[in-house]
Amino acid sequence: MNMMLRTKLDPNKRSILNRIHCDGPLLLGLLVLMAVGLITIYSAGGQDWQLIDRQLIRLGLALAVMLVVAQIPPLAYQKLSIYLYLLGVAMLVAVIVFGHVGKGAQRWLDLGILRFQPSEIMKLAVPMMVAWYISRFNLPPKLRHILVGFILVGIPTLLIAQQPDLGTSLLIASSGIFALFLAGMSWKFIGAIALSVSVFSPIMWNFLMKDYQKQRVLTFLNPESDPLGSGYHIIQSQIAIGSGGADGKGWLQGTQSQLEFLPERHTDFIFAVFSEEFGFWGVVGLLAIYTFIVIRGMIIANRAQDAFSKILAGSITLTFFVYVFVNMGMVSGILPVVGVPLPLVSYGGTSMVTLLAGFGILMAIATQKRLLSR
């Protein structure tokens, strides 16, 4: 702590990275991931340079957003939270009313020039809102504050769930719940939630889940039951991963991906391509990079000076890991197929910008210490 204070106190010794409010280790981790992503997309996309070009543009844009976001002091986010949240909820409602139907689900809001998924805003707005709300009180929070927190999480979750976009709604819910957990939600309450979830899930199955969602779960439980239909993705994906072996088939040598047996190769199932071509040890390496980023994120959270920053940084970091886990779990067959890309490796998506905006907030928290700033 002393050392950190010293460096922070001496403005002349601040590095270029610090001057632009970038956290070096975190940036390094992200850039390495992006490079891995580009290499894998090149292979999965049939060596199509156009894909690489587009992904580079997207990454550049996302990094720019991250840098911009990193310049804003955490205090501003604290103040912004409630407005962002309300805007997000309003847009979710707007989607229901005016939304654009894409791929059978109503997720998009057409703003004339660009189409926009309000659920992306909520990925950041929900943890911000919960962090803001809960950090106003002494921690650990009281039961009623937690209940209010749950309502704050529940409203957007349900709005997104009925679009329907179960994957995103669950991820948003977990980001809010992580915030409550990190804030010190009592274990008794956690136990009570676990119990109610187990009671609630049959109800959800029967009354809330759409047929295609049920099918995904059923297929997940036994993919071989429908090897040419909905089980096809999982089976081909497992064949790709399994046939990669310990060392992999080599870059550009994955037959499952190169011969197009693997669906969604450069997007949601890119992890299968990576596993096929780089093998088990390659996957260990990839997980090491993700773990490094998560650890760095949690260090930043712990070094943050106020509860809001701590909770927000922690929530963003944990949610990031959940993305990784859910994607890897679904591609390798231990979780049902939900459309979640592998963060920073999968091709495309609005989610990239949101994700890096989140890391921008992390960097802002890491580099802008309120008490020490001039």
């Binding site: 009180f137 497992q238 197009e260 047996f261 596993s275 701590k310 944990l318 886990f325 231990i334």
Partner: protein, 643 residues
């Protein structure tokens, strides 16, 4: 609502709480990482081999490659059945964007009519996806060129080459070679029963008739395999491995194309058949059945119109008369009967009878007539054969009885399959007591025996049986099985199959055999010989026996009048022969349906075949006519019997 700012916060306690929660979260994260890694370890390390296999199953497809069918040559190395590339216009419907429009443009380009388009659509429904479907078969070179120049306008359409059978001599060899045609359901069933399905995985055609069918196993060869990498659409990306097919063996026939063409020329327009065997080994030198038809029609699938025309033709071109035609052998079997009489001692070379044109049995009202109304006078066995005396053979048959005739003639091959290498063969009928009982549930009457003596009654024989029996006669009982196949190519060398024989006949006295052969010499060469006219001045010396087969019973006192009979009920002209007499090389059987007398109609045909066979041979001056082997001329002794 309390203002949060007012509350005093314990920052250290909060930081500690947060740190504890962080640790717990990190523990959960490590657990989840462990979960992911253990699952991946299971997939990639534990079950690696399993998934590797499944991955290869996905991408590697084994494609069978059809072997080239063996070629067929005649004995002089002339190609009789070859494989020619044909070009088919093939369409992969899934790859064509607008099928209707494409077909429309193609129809204009290649003048494709509506029937072809209808067939094409029907075929699409039957085919699997991404399998090419033929739009037009057998493109002409002009059409190939025309399409190739415009190919870029037709993605998903291509010209594909395939080898198919072609018979350059068409109808000349149809009943010998047969033909190949598309494998149908029945063929598939037989193949699977024989366990040969895999070997035919890529084969398009199979032998349906003749040599093509009988020697299918030699001609077909062994299927090869191509190991290819395919993508998820089933498209071949590259070939990984090629295990080439073993082509079928080329075979050489005993058939001499020259003789076959001569037979076709002679028989053109007539109904009948010519069989010529190699007397030394039973090899089939020529076998022509008339009328014939073009086998090439069947290779690409014969139209139902053409097929019905062949099927319903009264001339019955589809049957092979040489092996399936069942004809009363008539007088052509007199030499055989005479031999049996001599061997069984019911007659001797000296036995003479007086032929006054009529034959009666005691207590039987029926009168059997000689073809010569007033009879031949005194005849012994030699002159009876030479002049084809019926009365002598009525009497011989009477003396032998049906059982002995039946048994001996069966040994000669009558009423039995010759074993020729064709599936299209009939065993015809050698009547016996048992046969009549089974067939008509009637006893054998003595009256049934008498006409058997002149090869009539219920007796039928195929021309191949007749030719085989002549070969057996000239070889003194050695029985060769007629063989169309002569050998097969192994590399550049021909390995002969060798002749096949059945158990030889018992020879009691070889002189009896020589006597009968001498009588057949007399038929052709001596003064009263029935076939003498046909063979005057031949440079070679042949021997033979004519026959005129009645197809309808003539009423007791009626005379046979060809003009008053329907054309298809007129007598069949028959002739059996061998040559040269001293050292036989060829045995011949000729049948000319509804043509009349054997000596006048069939014998000249046999002569023309011999002329062709001996065309290049120099026999030197023709020897004087040989005297009879046994005793003196019967005619000279005749008066002594008048006493």
């Amino acid at each position: 609502m309390a203002r949060p700012r007012v509350t005093i916060k314990d920052h250290t306690a909060e930081a500690n709480l947060f740190a504890r929660r962080t640790v717990i979260a990190m523990l959960a994260i490590f657990m989840m990482i462990a979960m992911v890694l253990s699952n991946l370890y299971y997939l990639q390390i534990t079950r690696f081999a399993d998934y590797q296999t499944r991955s290869n199953d996905n991408r590697i497809k084994i494609l069978p490659v059809a072997p080239n069918r063996g070629l067929i040559y005649d004995r002089n190395g002339i190609l009789l059945a070859e494989n020619r590339p044909v070009f088919n216009l093939e369409v992969i419907p899934e790859k064509v964007k607008n099928l209707e429009k494409t077909l429309g443009l193609l129809s204009i380009l290649l003048d494709i009519d509506e029937d072809e388009v209808t067939d094409f659509y029907r075929e699409i429904k039957r085919n699997r996806r991404f399998k090419p479907v033929s739009l037009r078969k057998r493109l002409t070179p002009e059409e190939v060129a025309l399409f190739s120049a415009n190919q870029h306008k037709f993605p998903g359409v291509s010209v594909e080459a395939r080898l198919t059978r072609y018979y350059p001599y068409g109808k000349t060899l149809t009943h010998v070679l047969g033909y190949v045609s598309k494998i149908n359901k029945k063929d598939l069933q037989k193949l699977s029963e024989a366990g040969l399905e895999a070997n035919y995985a890529a084969t398009h055609d199979i032998g349906k008739l003749g040599v093509e069918k009988y020697h299918e196993d030699i001609l077909h060869g062994q299927v090869g395999y191509q190991e290819v990498e395919v993508n998820n659409q089933g498209r071949i990306i590259r070939t990984l491995n090629f295990n080439p097919p073993v082509p079928g063996q080329d075979i050489v026939l005993n058939i001499d194309l020259k003789l076959q063409q001569q037979a076709q020329k002679i028989m053109d327009g007539d109904k009948g058949t010519i069989v010529m065997l190699d007397s030394q080994n039973g090899g089939v030198l020529a076998m022509y059945s008339s009328p014939s038809y073009d086998p090439n029609l069947f290779v690409h699938g014969i139209s139902s119109k053409n097929y019905n025309a062949l099927l319903n033709s009264k001339a019955r071109p589809l049957i092979n008369r040489a092996t399936q035609g069942q004809y009363p052998p008539a007088s052509t079997v007199k030499p055989h009967l005479a031999l049996v009489g001599l061997e069984e001692h019911v007659v001797t070379p000296e036995t003479r009878i007086f032929d006054n044109g009529k034959y009666r049995l005691k207590n039987v009202e029926h009168v059997w007539r000689d073809w010569k109304t007033w009879g031949h006078g005194w005849v012994d066995v030699t002159s009876a054969i030479e002049q084809s005396c019926d009365i002598y053979f009525y009497d011989l048959a009477y003396r032998l009885g049906i059982d002995k005739i039946s048994d001996h003639m069966f040994e000669f091959g009558f009423g039995d399959y010759t074993g020729i290498d064709l599936h299209e063969e009939s065993d015809a009928n050698m009547p016996s007591r048992g046969w009549k009982r089974a067939r008509f549930n009637q006893p054998w009457y003595i009256g049934d025996t008498i006409p058997v003596g002149i090869g009539q009654s219920y007796w039928t024989a195929t021309p191949i049986q007749l030719a085989q029996s002549i070969t057996t006669l000239v070889n003194h009982g050695r029985r060769f099985i007629p063989q169309i196949i002569r050998g097969r190519y192994v590399g550049d060398e021909i390995v002969l199959d060798g002749s096949k024989e059945r158990r030889p006949l018992d020879v009691k006295d070889i002189k009896n055999w020589d006597l009968v052969l001498d009588a057949m010499y007399g038929v052709v060469n001596r003064k009263n010989g029935t076939a003498r006219k046909a063979f005057v001045d031949t440079p070679y010396v042949s021997a033979g026996k004519s026959g005129t087969a009645q197809l309808v019973a003539i009423a007791q006192d009626a005379k046979y009048d060809a003009d008053s009979l329907a054309a298809n009920l007129r007598d069949n002209a028959m002739y059996v022969a061998f040559a040269p007499y001293e050292k036989p090389e060829i045995s011949i059987a000729v049948v000319l349906e509804n043509a009349g007398g054997g000596s006048s109609q069939a014998a000249p045909i046999a002569k023309q075949m011999m002329d062709e066979y001996f065309a290049d041979r120099d026999f030197g001056p023709r020897p004087d006519v040989k005297e009879r082997e046994i005793s003196k001329d019967v005619a000279k002794n005749a008066p002594s019997h008048n006493h």
